[in-house]
Assembly symmetry: C2
Homo-oligomer: 139 residues x 2
C-alpha cells in the first residue's frame, strides 16, 4: 500500500534530482560547494548583510559566518562593518568572486540544455504552468 506515485511525480523528482546534481558538479568544478555558490549568487545583485544572507539561504546566521569566512579567506568576498551601524557586517563579492560565480554559471548547463530542447512556444507554456503551480491562491 505504498501508493506508487504518479508518473508525473516521478518525472518531477527525476528533474529536480538531475538539476541538483548538475548544480553540485558545476560548483565543484569551480572548487566551490553548492552552498558557497548560492551565497556568491546572492551577492551578484549587490552587497548584503550577514542577516540578509541567512534569510535568503534559509539557514542559521552562524552558518553564514563560517561560509563567508571561508570565501573571504579565498578572496572571493569582503566583509566590512557598516559605517552607519557598526554591529552590521556588509558582505560584498570581489572581482575574483565574480569570476568564480561566472565559472559556475557557465558550467551549470543543465537548465539551458533542458529548456533548449523545447520550442519557444513550449517554453512559454512551461513558464505559465510553473507560475500556476507556484501560486498558493489558485489561478
Amino acid at each position: 500500500m505504498t501508493e506508487p506515485s504518479s508518473p508525473l511525480d516521478q518525472q518531477l523528482w527525476d528533474f529536480v534530482y538531475g538539476y541538483d546534481a548538475a548544480y553540485d558538479r558545476a560548483a565543484q568544478q569551480a572548487g566551490l560547494s553548492a552552498a558557497q555558490a548560492c551565497l556568491l549568487d546572492q551577492l551578484t545583485g549587490g552587497s548584503s548583510t550577514m542577516g540578509e544572507l541567512a534569510t535568503a539561504l534559509l539557514c542559521d546566521a552562524s552558518n553564514v559566518t563560517q561560509l563567508v569566512a571561508r570565501l573571504e579567506s579565498r578572496g572571493l568576498v569582503t566583509r566590512e562593518p557598516d559605517p552607519a551601524d557598526r554591529r552590521v557586517k556588509r558582505v560584498s563579492i570581489t572581482p575574483a568572486g565574480r569570476r568564480e560565480h561566472r565559472a559556475v554559471h557557465r558550467a551549470f548547463a543543465f537548465p539551458a540544455e533542458s529548456v533548449d530542447r523545447l520550442t519557444a512556444g513550449e517554453q512559454q507554456l512551461l513558464s505559465r504552468l510553473l507560475a500556476k503551480m507556484r501560486r498558493p491562491g489558485g489561478s
Copy 2:
C-alpha cells in the same frame, strides 16, 4: 555583464529550491535527513546491496556504510550478508522503516500541491514537456 538569466530559468530555480526545501522539512519532521529518506525510498522496491545504494545515491560506498549504520541502529533497516556471496551485504527496510518512509511521503506535500493546481490536461502537458526536456536525443 552577469547575463541576467531568463525568467524561465529563474522559475525553474525557484521551483527546485522550493521542492528541495519541502523535502528536507518533510524528512526532518520524521527525524530523518534527506539522505536517509532517499535511502529508505530506494529500499521500498526491495532489498539492495551497499554498492547498488551507492550507485543509486550517486555517492561513495563508505558514505552508504555510515548512512546504513545510523538507520540500522534505529531499527529502520537491516543489513545481512548475502548467503550466495558473503562479501555482499543485503540491506532491507524494516516495518518501522516503512512507517517512517510513509510519514515522509505524507509530509512531502509539495509536488502533489503544485500539480493539483493544474487541470488534468495541463498535467499531461507538463509531463510531455518534462519528457522532452529530459531526452538527450531531442524530440
